[in-house]
Amino acid sequence: MYKYSEKDKSIIESRTKQFKNQVQRRLNGQLSEEEFKPLRLMNGLYLQLHAYMLRVAIPYGELSSSQLRKLAFIAEKFDRGYGHFTTRQNIQFNWPKLPDVPDILHELSKVEMHAIQTSGNCIRNISSDHLAGITIDEIEDPRPWCEIIRQWSTFHPEFSFLPRKFKIAVIGSKKDRAAMLVHDIGLRLIKKDKEIGFEVFVGGGQGRTPIIAKKIKNFLQKKDLLNYLEAILNTYNQEGRRDNIYKARIKILVKELGIEKFKLLVDENFKKLSDKNLEIDKVSIDKIFSFFTLPELKPNSHKVQIHKNKEYNEWVTQNTLSHKVSGYSIVHISLKSANHPPGDISSQQMMALSKISEDFSFSEIRVTHEQNLILPHVENKNIYKLWIELKKLSLATPNIGLISDTICCPGMDYCALATARSIPISQKISNHFKSFSDQKILGDLKIKISGCINACGHHHVGNIGILGLDRNGQEFYQITLGGSAKEDASIGEIVGPSFPESKLIDAINTILNTYKKNKKKKTEDFLSVFRRVGIKEFKKDLYDNT
């Protein structure tokens, strides 16, 4: 894992001090809320429906056991005993009090954490593949690149007041597990004639105008990465729209100019502005890579233990994956049990999990963009023992990738922007499709739920997407079908008129029946069937008989 240098430490400390000053000025009335807003947003502090919300950065989703313990402590001492993992691998606390926030930031800085780049119109925390560095299908580990970009983008003097927020994801495999194609910039490590570099995508995003990113560069040399990112950001900062918040993301600029014209502007800036000092040399690259080595794993021939326990076997099938080192597994911890809001975790669970990660996974934990956790290196011979421990904590729900593993935004239960509730919908789905065998029949299936058009619950890219709307004071839910956030990314199509909450589960059942009926073989998943038969079949079954 990355360890802070003295420079990182000083930068974070000075930022914490600055923020203390800003909070004081706000409390004294020297700063208006309007002036304080962008400053608090630079420190991850939002004002929500009922209270402030603090979003803490977890760069590329990697946590150490001591960091998780600190998060547990903060949830307990300053919040209401829980935290919520987000779709960009961060964690948010929903009830901090403004005067406490400088103390929280101080506590975080003790474990090399902070809340910068988690909000505001800046370059946000960089996200990545949760299997980075441990999966066999990887060209190169993307995490060091995320760290290089994190450093370059932190308090960037030129790019801290962009037209809108700016999200970057980096992946190192053909497979996209980070929703890279719906980011403002997506980077994929690729190999060309023995040289590794980046394929660059730009202008993806969700919200009210969902767009899949366009490729802007087939191959970017590693040394040019930061200069090229600067060229894109420089173009966006100057040309991006500022007259309308809904048209301010880079996706709209790219769409309005067209990718070819946009590329010309970027290339011109790249030529004129490239700075030798921003080129990354091999020594610096190697230095960053040295932080991301595997712990001392001992390859062995142990297979995952078999037990007679059915529940255990289901969990092993669904929640574990092979590690690239033989004898080890990657274990998913689902935060989607039927009775809890997706992504929520209590301080007791965090505390216990911190210890579990020390006992079973070299003190490492990861956060996935699908709002689950991972223990990255678990010895196969310890899997059963681990399951027992996780089960005691209600953290052994066997549903990774199944219908009840929903992505869901906080919705109207917390969020000031929401037009409908989303958490109760996800809980209804989890309760309705509780049985493991029923879920298995439905196979890989991603339901994603947003409580408003801003799409924080990624509904556009759900195989089944659910969008909560307000219709004359009543909550209605619009369904989209056929979205995907993977390497074959696509935006879902609206199936038809929306449903009141009372009819939503029936509608989902009808959709699933259409899928089952059209499935040609057992292994054909929902998305493949949808793409083969088209939306008409689903529409017909959903609306023609009513």
Binding site: S160, F161, N237, Q238, L273, D275
Partner: protein, 150 residues
């Protein structure tokens, strides 16, 4: 209002030109023109040996207004709102793309919290209320000089 150059207050050598003087083409040393005025007299101004400044609104900080500023001794950028980040790129481009050597000054709605960013993007000075001087300097003093960017 005072002019702050890093930690030091300095005399303001510039003053906005009034409409009458502009109409009479009375360009005194240290006159600040707005962009529209500058565009209007640009051609006739060539080779006049007068120290002149131009004020850009942050809305005017587009790439099309960046070039050929070399004969201008002050570029003053008026932030309509501190949230508008275009002047940061504008200033940086003036310096890096066009090698602009004159003074770049920020005025309008700016916050002391932005002081270091302004300086790092190529601004030399800020125009602020005299009563805010201490807090601007305080923010500059909080800067430990450590940055990730060159």
């Amino acid at each position: 209002m005072i002019i702050l150059n890093k930690r030091h207050e300095k005399e303001n050598e510039y003053k906005k030109i009034n409409d009458r003087d502009f109409l009479d083409r009375k360009f005194f040393d240290g006159a600040i023109l707005n962009l529209a005025q500058w565009v209007e007299i640009k051609k006739e101004f060539k080779n006049k040996k007068v120290k002149i400044g131009i004020e850009f609104s942050s809305n005017e900080c587009s790439s099309s207004n960046e070039s050929s500023m070399s004969e201008i001794s002050l570029i003053q950028i008026k932030f309509e709102t501190f949230k508008d980040g275009r002047p940061f790129t504008f200033a940086r481009n003036l310096r890096k793309k066009y090698g602009y050597k004159g003074e770049i000054r920020a005025t309008g709605h700016i916050l002391p919290d932005q002081y270091i960013f302004l300086i790092r993007c190529g601004f030399d000075s800020v125009e602020i209320a005299e009563s805010d001087k201490d807090i601007w300097i305080e923010f500059l003093n909080m800067d430990n000089g450590l940055y990730y960017q060159p």
